[in-house]
Every structure is written in structure tokens, then in C-alpha cells.
Assembly symmetry: C2
Homo-oligomer: 374 residues x 2
């Protein structure tokens, strides 16, 4: 296969793995920071690498509009363009077309939409999405699907997943196999087990390098999501990576790893860095809160990121109050580092057969909350 | 004296020097990046140090309002608060009170003003400014003066400089001498030579660790500024550093070094980094310009900053179009690095007795302009 996935160790449903790509190895369970417009917002790529991140997610929708796939290709591909020489996964563009654009027309052939930037008309189909992701030189291409909105009736979800599976086949057919590159299919089916099973069967029939679980984290809540994750990963091939798209908060990720998921992406750590929210082992902190004004302590005791090593909460609070860019830079760095520390902890716990204990400690610490620490 | 200044070499009116402070040596001619609110905007302090900057300027006005001098003192001083262990110079706050605040009342005693942040009332006097700068733990304290507005009649300028000299004496008296710390007096007198002479005499009488030239770069234009600089530095003590406040563009700095100035500060490199403007050896570049859209070349051939080493103009143009923070981060870094390369070039040229040739080449390259390079 074009992408090799080794499962090194199992612990319950959870797996420790290595995904080999042309641009290096991704150790799973892995979290992918989001680099929407060919940049992880407010981070130098060398800083992203320093957090331990081994793979980034790029957004096909944003990149096709600005600067355009042809320009990225002309500049030597996305890795070179953005100075990131590790693996890159790109989404198919479908999700953003549905969530960010206004006027759009969906048909069996594809989707016509107006750019949220300048209103210009564009067309996206499975073939077009493959072509764009090829030009971007993405290591992991995602099949184009329709992310079934939530809530959906059984009939709506069925109609939607059926079309997505036809698009999955067209995506696979249009994808050009290359060594160290691969394509992932996306399971849909909303919260209906038989539709999830139907989707998994179709995807396996087509054959992919990895399998994503789509249509979750779209408003159904953690309980409903975990109910689906109790069975959905098990419907997918055992020997391929499983990627839960757009998830999530730290406790979502821990719960999903326990249920057999290997890969994640989410804007949470980066977006929160822009809204003064920090993730820590002791729960989230909003640094804008007045209680931090004269606090000489680091944000999170024991964290090795530049924010926690070199600054007081009082300083970050001050930067945030003054709308200083450095607040965003440091909080984003901390948050990505926190997510990578969490993933490294999960991997080590699987390695050492103590995942359950790790998760218990994780939940207990999160429940303590930061305020309890003072 | 509390601050030791060594003049290592002279070349015409220009001097190569070393200013010894408690937090390290500043090699002059030196350019100080501005860290208004206890941060050089969009830069990690280790990145500022990596550009070659040896000293920062902090703004007393901004810091007294947010987070307040008492808090900074409580946090161990400005160096520790902002994670910058090299020298810091703070201005007196007077200039910002005059340029940023609305309601204010100036008297012999000091100035009452309303904060531009929340409208709260504050009072600044020579004694108060000294106290704040002491609490900030600034290595170089600036005397409080009135920056004479331009244009001013002779009578206005005379009245203003006379009060500034009385304030200089009060500042000196209130300053607490410490090893490795010092206070600079500020020469005023607008564009009138006899007032500049009067001011210099008064300051020498009082005795300072260094002497600033104030009241320039306030709208008089480069020609008028250079006319003053033809004589003003020579009125100040030969054996002390001379600091031209708020200057300037690269060609302003080169002209002022030729006229015997040792230190500079300006928001130009940092502010320009936020407006897509880059300084280069071949003149300024606006990266937003459409001609950069598909340009694979680095911003400035031969520059060793991360922007020029790792990215194309096309990429920076793209980031800028998308309002990405990384554009600001990289352009600011480049601009500060450009200024530091310029200062290092000036120092080396003085060292090697070829300042005139250096300046001729500088002006010739600037005149070429970037467009001529394509």
C-alpha cells in the first residue's frame, strides 16, 4: 500500500501505531494541529514541530481559494510553501463548503458554491478535490463526502451516506497512488448503527489507506458521540488508522482513544489561544480572569512550553488585557504543547499497559479544576 | 559613574562605543526596538535577542497605566516580568502624555492627564517619573521633559526648554544612583542653535550618564533635522553616549551616526511589520503589492532572518492577504533584523575606518529600489 501502518501494541480497544509517510512517521494516537491557510495561526512551523506535533492538517477549501492550488504546486507544494517538512493531511473541502459558504447547490455531480472571501463561484466534486489535494502534495488525501448535518432523520442520513459512498468510490478512482502518500475514506451514517455499518462495508469494499469517522462533533454532544464510538471504530479495518474528524476537547480525545481511535484534529487548541483560554492538566483556565492579575505562578506547573517556563500568569493576563499578539502566540503554543503532551501520555500508557489508570488520573485531575489549585 | 561608557574608536564625528550596564554591554551605535507594553509586538524576547538587539525601550506612560509600576516591581522588575535579561531603557512618559491623552493640564509642578485606556486621572512629574522608572528597574532612566511641539516660535521654544531644564534638575535629584544604572538628560531647544546650546550647558551643569537629543523627528523633516544634528551632538559631552529619540528610518539613522549620534529608538521596524512594509538593503518593499503574488524569491537576498531564509515572497504575500498573524511575526522579525544588520554594518565600518564608503554604498543601494532588482 501507499501508506504503511504498523500497530506496535494494543491495550483494550486502544492501539499504539506508526504511520509511515514520505515525509516521516506519525506516532499514533496522534493529534494534528490545524493549519487552515498554510499556517498554524500565530505559530512558526519550527515551534509547531517543537511541541511534538508530527503532522498538520491543511484545509482544501481555504487553500483552493487563497492562494489557489496551482500556485502552491508552482511553489513546490504545501510543505515547501509553508516551511513544514513533516507529514500533512488535507481535508476534502466539503465540510467548509457546507459550513462557511452561503449560496451553494449540491447535486450528485458535486457542489457549486460562492467563496466566503469574495463571492466568486467555484465547483467541488470528488475528482476536483483529488486534483487540488494532489497539487497541494498532501500526504493524506481525504475523500470528498457530505458531512451529514445533525440532527438528521434516518431517511436523510441514509440518502446522505449513500451519496457519500458513491463519492468515496469516485474519490478513490481519481486518487493517484504514490509511495508515501495515501487516501482515507470517511464513514458517515449519523447516529444510526446500521448506516455506520453500511458505510464501513462500502469503504472496505473500495479499499483505503485509512478510515475516518465523520459526521460527529457536529452538535450531538459527548454522550451521543461516545455511543457511536462504542461500535463505529470496530466496524472499520483493524489494520488501518482510524481518524475521528474535528475532535475535540481533551476529554473527548481520551474517550475516543479508549474506544479505538488513532488520529484527531481540531481547531480547539489554536482557536482557544486567540480567546485567552488555556488547556491544562487541571482543567481549562481563562487567563483574562481578574484572579490572575497579580499571580506570579506559571500557567501550568510542570509544563515545559515557553509560556509556562518563562512567564507568570500576571504577565500573560497583562498581555491579554493589552491585546498584545504575544499573548496569542504564547497561549497557542501552550495549548498545542498541552495536546501533544496528552497524546504522548496516552501513547506511553498504552505502551506500558496502564491506559486505564492513566485515564482515571486524567479525569480526576481535570475535575480538580484550576481554582482548586489556588 | 553609575554607567560606564567606553569610546573604542572614532571615525570623523562618529564613534564606536560600549555602554556597560548591570544587564550587559550595549555596543554603539545601537538601535533599540520598542517594547511599549512590556513586549516587542509580535516577537518572543528570545527572537528579539536573536536579531542582535542588545537593549530595548519600554514606555513609562503605557506601563504606569497597564499593568502599573507597582505590579511590575512586585513581579521582580521589567526584565523578569517580560523575560528579557538584557538592558532596558525607559522613556519618561512625557512624550506619550502629550501625544496620546486628551484632557491634560501642564504646570511647573507636572502634568495631569486622563488615561487613553479608561479615562482615569493620573499625574506625572519629574519625581513621579523617576519613581516609576525605578520600580520598573530600568537600566537607563530618562529625565522628564516637555517635548517642544513643532513648529514653535522662538519664544515658545525658549519657555519650553527652560522648564524642561528645571525638570531635568528635579529628575536628576530624584534619581537614585545604583551601579549599572543611569539617567540621561534630554536636550531641547527646537531648531534654534542658541537654545540647543543653552540646554546642553544646563544639562552638563547638572551632570548625566548620557544625553539625549529630543524634540526632533516631530514633523520638521529630514533636512531640518540634519541641520540641527550638524551642531547639536557636538554641544554635548564628548565622553558620554548621545541618544537621538524616536529616530527613525534607515537613512535618518545613517545620517545621524555620521553626525555623531550613538543611540536610537523607533517604532518604525515593528509598526511597519504590522502594515506589510519591509525594510531591505534595496529600499522598502510593500509585500501586499500584487507583483509579489507568484514571486518565489526571498524578501531580501542575503538576509539571514527566518522570513528570508525559509519563505518566498509569494508565501508572505499570501499570509498578508489572509490577515495571518504569522505575516506580522515574520515581517517584524525581518525588520528588526534589518535594523540590527544596519547598525552592525555601521559599527564595523567605523572600526575599519571606512564609514564614508559604507554610507555611499548604503545610499546607492537604497536608491536602486527593490523594483529595479526584478
Amino acid at each position: 500500500m501507499a501508506l504503511k501502518y504498523e500497530i506496535v501494541k494494543k491495550c483494550g480497544k486502544s492501539r499504539l501505531g506508526k504511520l509511515h509517510t514520505k515525509h516521516g512517521i506519525v506516532h499514533t494516537p496522534a493529534f494534528m494541529p490545524v493549519g487552515t491557510c498554510a499556517t498554524v495561526k500565530a505559530m512558526m512551523p519550527e515551534s509547531v514541530a517543537a511541541t511534538g506535533a508530527e503532522i498538520l492538517l491543511g484545509n482544501t477549501y481555504h487553500l483552493m481559494l487563497r492562494p489557489g492550488a496551482d500556485l502552491v504546486q508552482k511553489m513546490g507544494g504545501l510543505h515547501k510553501f509553508m516551511n513544514w517538512d513533516k507529514p500533512i493531511l488535507t481535508d476534502s473541502g466539503g465540510f467548509q463548503v457546507m459550513s462557511l459558504t452561503g449560496l451553494r447547490k449540491l447535486s450528485e455531480e458535486g457542489v457549486t458554491f460562492s467563496s466566503h472571501v469574495d463571492g466568486s463561484k467555484h465547483f467541488l466534486s470528488p475528482e476536483k478535490s483529488m486534483e487540488i489535494q494532489y497539487k497541494l502534495d498532501s500526504n493524506i488525501t481525504m475523500a470528498l463526502d457530505e458531512c451529514t448535518p445533525f440532527p438528521a432523520t434516518y431517511e436523510q442520513a441514509k440518502k446522505s451516506v449513500e451519496m457519500s459512498m458513491r463519492w468515496a468510490k469516485r474519490s478513490r478512482d481519481a486518487f493517484i497512488d504514490r509511495d508515501g502518500y495515501g487516501i482515507f475514506g470517511i464513514q458517515q451514517g449519523s447516529v444510526f448503527e446500521d448506516l455506520r455499518r453500511f458505510s464501513a462495508e462500502k469503504l472496505k469494499e473500495i479499499g483505503f489507506d485509512g478510515y475516518a469517522i465523520g459526521g460527529l462533533a457536529v452538535g450531538e454532544g459527548q454522550e451521543a458521540m461516545f455511543k457511536v464510538l462504542d461500535y463505529a471504530p470496530g466496524l472499520l479495518p483493524e489494520d488501518k488508522p482510524r481518524y475521528l474528524m474535528g475532535v475535540g476537547r481533551p476529554d473527548d480525545i481520551v474517550g475516543a482513544v479508549l474506544r479505538g481511535v488513532d488520529m484527531f484534529d481540531c481547531v480547539m487548541p489554536t482557536r482557544s489561544g486567540r480567546t485567552a483560554q488555556a488547556f491544562t492538566a487541571f482543567g481549562p483556565i481563562n487567563i483574562r480572569n481578574a484572579r490572575h492579575r497579580e499571580d506570579p505562578r506559571p500557567l501550568e506547573e510542570g509544563c515545559d512550553c515557553p509560556l509556562c517556563k518563562n512567564y507568570s500568569r500576571a504577565y500573560i493576563h497583562h498581555l491579554q488585557k493589552c491585546n498584545e499578539v504575544l499573548a496569542v502566540m504564547l497561549l497557542t503554543w501552550h495549548n498545542i504543547r498541552y495536546y501533544q503532551r496528552l497524546m504522548a501520555g496516552l501513547r506511553q500508557a498504552i505502551e506500558e499497559d496502564r491506559l486505564e489508570a492513566f485515564c482515571q488520573e486524567f479525569y480526576a485531575n481535570q475535575a480538580k479544576g484550576d481554582i482548586a489549585e489556588i
